[in-house]
């Protein structure tokens, strides 16, 4: 039957073509029908939107706990900031000599380190000014392959190149409409986890969001080569840089007004794209254009400097990584005070350890935590007010700006991802909303999958 339809359609096409201009088919070619948009409805227990740092962990956790799980990602690979963003040092997993983020995130990082013959840092070195030494460097592309393999092995159904357009809650289930390349999909799920980094699904669902009037700048990661920093005449270079800024040829804030820093870092996490926002295609396009244009202008300038004539771009990421956009208005908002005092909440589900780290147009001066302090994340901060069957994980966690500047880092997002995944599993199994899940059950499930939960660990 199908064959007949297809044949008759092709015949009609052929007849039409004959009427206009007969196509000449080469050997092996055939006249193809126009592509039909695939419209379908999928049902799943848990839907994770966003396959970045937190989302991939949430999805793997959910699938490994036996729930049918779909992961929607609008890019072409998993890992987000760690992979596509190029910030391939997803620390920090250890604080004050003890591991604080474990579980699936740590498993993925450790495997990437081992498969690349890299070594882990010595986690016993003091924190404070040495905090960058605690960062675990991974090969970003290898990491993307590994985490994808893990997601597939866990049974996660990955849908790349798709983005949600609506999210509605009816009769205890969420219906999320997505569009992608040639797809229009309705996904019905019992529990929805927003890991977009921008609270995009929460926004579609109609929950309140918070945003700063001025957000932190984003960064396009790249790598320069072809020069010897130690032999450069930095005095001349600085003076030429200042002159170019005065003339309006370069923008002071693009590289933190620090040409020496740019040359010394070779491009590693030094660029600032003011106002970078990844929430929508349009906003992210602007951030990408700004980042690339500023890099190109600066590269051309660098090549006019003494000792930098042969400077070249060894590598550049595909998109500008973004630090801050929207946060949810959750059942609890983690404050700066909570963070820097290491408040352990009754419903704490994961740790977070990082200095308060607000980037602005002048750069960043991290404010390190006092010795022994490790912050925690309560379940309530992952749940938007007035929501049911809905969780978030990652940088849009409900928090004030200063707390968020530390919570937003990758290891913390992984911890939150695992907690959100586990909470969704229990809520789905017990037909509850995540806020009503028993903390005892939740801690047990997270720990069974290697995660580290604040209170229970402390009790031993």
């Amino acid at each position: 039957m199908e064959k007949i339809k297809r044949r008759s359609a092709l015949t009609s096409l052929g007849a039409l073509s004959l009427g206009m201009a007969a196509p000449t088919l080469s050997k092996g070619e055939r006249l193809s029908e126009p592509y039909q948009l695939i419209q379908q409805t999928l049902k799943t227990d848990i839907l994770v939107i966003g396959g970045g740092t937190a989302g991939v962990v949430a999805a793997i956790q959910a699938a490994r706990a036996g729930r049918k799980t779909i992961l929607v990602e609008n890019g072409s690979q998993l890992g987000g900031t760690t992979t596509t963003g190029g910030v391939n040092y997803p620390g920090i997993f250890f604080a004050w000599g003890k591991q604080v983020i474990g579980g699936i995130g740590w498993e993925m990082v450790q495997e990437a380190v081992a498969l690349n013959d890299d070594t882990l840092p010595d986690f016993s070195i003091p924190h404070g000014k040495n905090h960058p030494r605690h960062q675990v460097r991974v090969n970003g592309q290898l990491y993307a392959l590994l985490i994808e393999e893990k997601a597939v092995e866990a049974g996660v159904q990955i849908r790349f190149y798709e983005t949600p357009t609506s999210a509605t809650f009816q009769k205890g289930n969420w219906t999320v409409q997505t569009v992608g390349k040639g797809t229009s999909t309705q996904i019905v799920c019992n529990q929805l986890i927003d890991c977009t980094g921008n609270a995009y699904a929460a926004s579609l669902a109609g929950f309140d969001l918070l945003r700063e009037s001025v957000t932190q700048p984003g960064t396009l990661m790249f790598r320069l080569e072809g020069y010897d920093f130690n032999s450069l005449d930095l005095k001349t270079i600085k003076s030429r840089y200042e002159e170019a800024i005065k003339k309006g040829e370069l923008v002071k804030s693009d590289f933190r007004n620090n040409i020496v820093g740019l040359l010394k870092s070779k491009g590693d996490n030094i660029q600032h794209v003011l106002g970078a926002d990844s929430t929508t295609s349009e906003a992210h396009t602007v951030a990408n254009l700004k980042g690339r244009s500023s890099l190109l202008t600066t590269l051309r300038f660098l090549r006019t400097l003494p000792g930098c004539e042969k400077i070249r771009l060894a590598d550049v990421q595909n998109e500008t990584a973004v630090r801050e956009t929207y946060r949810i208005d959750g059942h609890y908002k983690i404050t700066h005070e909570d963070y820097v005092t290491g408040k352990v909440f009754d419903d704490a589900v994961s740790y977070s350890y990082y200095p308060i780290d607000v980037h602005d147009e002048n750069g960043v001066v991290p404010d390190h935590l006092k010795e022994g302090v490790v912050a925690t994340v309560p379940l309530r901060a992952l749940i938007p007010k007035n929501s049911r069957n809905f969780l978030v994980a990652g940088r849009m966690v409900s928090s004030d700006r200063l707390a968020n500047s530390a919570l937003r880092v990758q290891a913390s997002c992984m911890g939150m991802g695992q907690a959100a995944g586990a909470a969704a599993v229990l809520a789905s199994m017990q037909n509850k909303t995540p806020l009503d899940v028993s903390m005892k059950d939740l801690r047990k499930l997270i720990e069974e999958h290697g995660g580290i939960v604040p209170v229970s660990s402390q009790k031993g």
């Binding site: 000599g97 474990g102 005095k235 999958h449």
Partner: protein, 384 residues
């Protein structure tokens, strides 16, 4: 003689180190940190290398204990520290531990360090210098000589580059008033000499010597030693005991490096496999996974370890379960008891677990009626 860099033995004969009498030592200014190896130096041997630095000579001295273990290294530095078009002599002896870690410094009799206007260092400034030199992560590593002092100020004739014009971000890492001295010494400590120290130590590695390094109070030294076991020294009973003692939840780095130090050849030993497995129940999830992964390197899997791991499957989840099944697949585990434990997982309400069990059993061909029945039931239930 190794290729790559030439190490010349200056003296074929060991020179007995004449330990300086205590009162003479007290005359000298000396600042030291906790040593890797607290043994008394007994002999000194001199090595010449092409350091390509301006220390004034290319001789590196290695002190050894009575047992013949390297204890420390030192170089007698005589160099100039120049700034503001003036140079002054730096005459100092720098010491390294056997792992390349900075140990301390000593000034020749009657010598002292000075700052701007030849003002001598105060005791607290020597202490600060010692602390700064002990920091291998100091940002001084990345500062260029030119960055230490803003150029505009340097140009001002007669102005001391150190006291008033040091770059603000450098101040935390130098002795105030002695920026170039600190910088130069730090780069001596972490320059070519450090690599040579490690290279010379590596030539003297033995199980007893590695054990001594593992006793160091410094975790970096311990990690260094753990990284220098596999393929380099025999895993004697003493070394094995110490190595296994590092596998605990409180020191992840040491535990991870200790597990890594076990080679496939050593894992031939059933007793080592059993000793390693003893750690399994006491360790956290991450270390459990590392232990299971380590058994994948073993040429065979000890039957007791296999049985215990099979029983652990009953309560395992996620990655740990996958990892154990992968291990069994690698070692072609097809015995009835293990098969039945895995077959029970087919009935798990967790699809992930039951699918993992199904994939394993499908390829394992376990010759047991109960297992075959459970497998067939699973296939029927899932129309496979």
């Amino acid at each position: 003689m190794r290729s790559g860099h030439k190490v010349g033995l200056l003296n074929a004969v060991f020179i007995l180190l004449l330990l300086l009498p205590a009162h003479r030592k007290q005359d000298r200014i000396r600042y030291f940190n906790a040593p890797t190896i607290p043994l008394k130096p007994d002999t000194v041997q001199a090595f010449v290398s092409h350091f390509k630095d301006d220390a004034g000579n290319d001789t590196l001295f290695q002190t050894r204990s009575k047992e013949g273990y390297p204890v420390s290294y030192f170089r007698k530095i005589k160099t100039s520290v120049c700034f503001d078009n003036k140079c002054r002599l730096l005459d100092i002896v720098l010491y390294w531990n056997v792992t390349g870690r900075y140990l301390g410094f000593e000034l020749p009799e009657g010598e002292f360090l000075s700052k701007t206007e030849h003002e001598p260092f105060k005791p607290e400034e020597y202490g600060r210098l010692n602390e700064l030199l002990a920091d291998p992560f100091s940002p001084l590593a990345n500062f260029s000589y030119e960055e230490l002092v803003p150029k505009a100020d340097l140009a001002a004739s007669g102005l001391d580059a150190v006291s008033s014009a040091t770059s603000k971000n450098v101040l935390d890492y130098v002795v105030e008033g002695a920026v170039y001295t600190t910088y130069k010494m730090w780069h001596f400590v972490y320059g070519a000499t450090q690599k040579e120290v490690v290279s010379l130590t590596e030539k003297r590695l033995s199980p007893g010597f590695v054990l001594k390094i593992l006793e160091s109070p410094d975790s970096g030294d311990k990690i260094w030693a753990l990284n220098h076991i596999r393929g380099r020294v025999e895993l004697t009973s003493g070394l094995r005991n110490t190595l296994l003692s590092f596998i605990d939840n409180n020191r992840f780095n040491l535990a991870e490096r200790a597990i890594n130090a076990l080679s496939p050849d050593e894992l031939k030993s059933d007793s080592l496999q059993l000793r390693l497995f003893e750690k399994f129940p006491q360790t956290n999830y991450a270390l459990k996974n590392l232990i299971v992964t380590k058994f994948k390197e073993a040429p065979h899997l000890n039957p007791q370890v296999k049985t215990a791991l099979a029983r652990a499957l009953k309560s395992a989840n996620g990655e740990l379960l996958s990892n154990i099944l992968d291990l069994f697949k690698l070692h072609r585990v097809t015995d009835r008891e293990t098969g039945r434990i895995i077959a029970d997982l087919l009935q798990s309400p967790n699809n992930f677990l039951s699918q993992k069990a199904f994939i394993y059993l499908k390829s394992a061909n376990i010759d047991d009626k109960t297992v075959v029945k459970q497998l067939n039931d699973y296939k029927a239930k899932h129309t496979l």
